[in-house]
Structures are given as C-alpha cells and as structure tokens.
Symmetry: C2
Subunit: 135 residues, 2 copies
Amino acid sequence: MPDTDRLMTIREMCDTYEVTPRTLRFYEAKELLSPNREGQKRLFTRRDRARLKLILRGKRFGFSLEEIRQLLELYHVGDQQQTQLARTLAIAKERLADMERQRNEFNEAINDLGEQIDWVTQTLASTAVSKDAAE
Amino acid sequence: MPDTDRLMTIREMCDTYEVTPRTLRFYEAKELLSPNREGQKRLFTRRDRARLKLILRGKRFGFSLEEIRQLLELYHVGDQQQTQLARTLAIAKERLADMERQRNEFNEAINDLGEQIDWVTQTLASTAVSKDAAE
DNA sequence: CGTATTCCTTACGTTAACGTCAACTCCCTC
DNA sequence: GAGGGAGTTGACGTTAACGTAAGGAATACG
C-alpha cells in the first residue's frame, strides 16, 4: 500500500497541517471534508488531505469557506451531472477572472507601497543628516 | 478653492465610495478617519478621502483594519518621531514581503485553476460527444 | 407651525470561523 | 480496575466588521 493512501488520525492531520482538531471537525460539519470512520474515530484519506491543502490555500487568498466549497467541486468531478458541472465551471471561470483582476490591483499596491517605502527611507535619511548638521 | 479641497457630507461620501454611514462612523471610531465637525455633523476632508481609498483597497487584499491602520501611518509622516517612523517602516517592509510572497502563491493558484478549467472543459466536451454517439 | 430630511448617538444583533470547556467513550497498561 | 491518552459530541464564548433599530437634534420646506 503506497504511503499516499495511508489513513491519518486527527492528530496526525493537525501536526502535518498545523490546524486544530476543532478546525477539522468544523470543516467536516461544513462538508468540506468527509473522513472515514473507524468506530467513532475519524480517519482522513488522501482525498481529505488534498482537499485540506486547497482549503488552506484558498484561505490565504481570502476566500470564504463557502467559496472554497464551490471551488472544491471542480476537483471532484466524476459523479456529477452535466448541467451542474457546467454551472460549477462557470463559477470557476468567474472566480478566475476575479483573481486576475485582484492580481493586477495587487501589483499596483505592491508598487505603491514600494515607492512609499523608498520615499520614507529617503526622508528619514535626509532629516537625519540635517539633524546632524544642526547639532 | 480647488475642488479637491471640498468638504463632503457623509451622504456624499457614501455615494462616492459605496459605503454606508455606519461604515464611515465605524472607521472614525477605529481612528482610521478623522472628519471635521460642523456642529455635530461630520465633514470629510480630502485627507479622509485619500485614506478611505487606501482602506478600501487594503480590504480587497484581505488586510484587517488594524493592519491597514498601521499602513496608513506611512502616508501620514510629518509630525512623527524618527524611532516611531523607523518602526512603521519596518512593518511596511515586512508587509511588502508578505504581499510579494502572496502574489507568487496567487499566480500559482491562478495557473492551477486555469489548467483545471481547461481540463474540465475538455472532459465536458468529450463526454458530450460520446453521449451524442450513444444516442 | 408641522413635517420631512439628514444627521447624530447609543446599543443590541449578526455572521464567519473557529476557541474553549464539560462530559463521555474507547483502548491501553500498570 | 484505576488511571491515562486520544478521540468524540454538544454547547456556549469570542473577535472582526459592520447591520439595524430606537430615539433625538438641526435644518429646510410649504
């Protein structure tokens, strides 16, 4: 059995991905994850791990869990109906366009901030000099 | 008096920037804005407008209002002390590094999503064909 | 003068995304 | 068989960023 097919306990998951048990149970409640059960214990599959990675990445970009849930459907195609799939696809395309727009704004902001930092650095340097001169 | 120096009422602000009065009062309470008063009414200055724009942009990038408040200090240099200014500058540089890291991840995510969309589009097209053929 | 509009303050309500705590159930081991 | 961990299910608490509603002041209009 390849290592990637290992089932992980909640603790292993937490240590691996730096999340709390509460978080994983919360994601399950929100139907973002669906671990197996052994008795009442959760066992997380390869699929859960892949999804969790995407969830965490999505969060870093400021997506809500609900939005992420929609994106996850893209990675879970197989049993879906055509129309539903097409809808999901449309959503993903919109999201992609959003992200591209956001990236552009982001680049602007990075440039702005960089310039501002340069400016302040200059100011700081020159006032330090004039202060020296005054003493 | 140049138009940029006009004082704006709360409603003008709301219409211009598509925010609610509550939001503007909230930002004032958090010391992100500091409009003048005429009696008890707020009058927003050019400076408030500039700051509001930055606040809104910061929000689009997922910054918290507290983080934004720190960045705003960069745009309000003049009466500050050197040490305080230097600290602010350090914060801004970290923030810039964060943003650059985030941009890289972001680009990856955009590529991933794009590929995924292509893939699904393909799948959708070919299953549609085979479905046609089966009928 | 009445009332309509715009604004104000105060204060409680709401949503997302968990944190925290109590009370249980297994399973292991000493 | 008493205790110790790891895991479970409620259920209430928390923070950020406002929404919303109640009640009052100031100005404008007919």
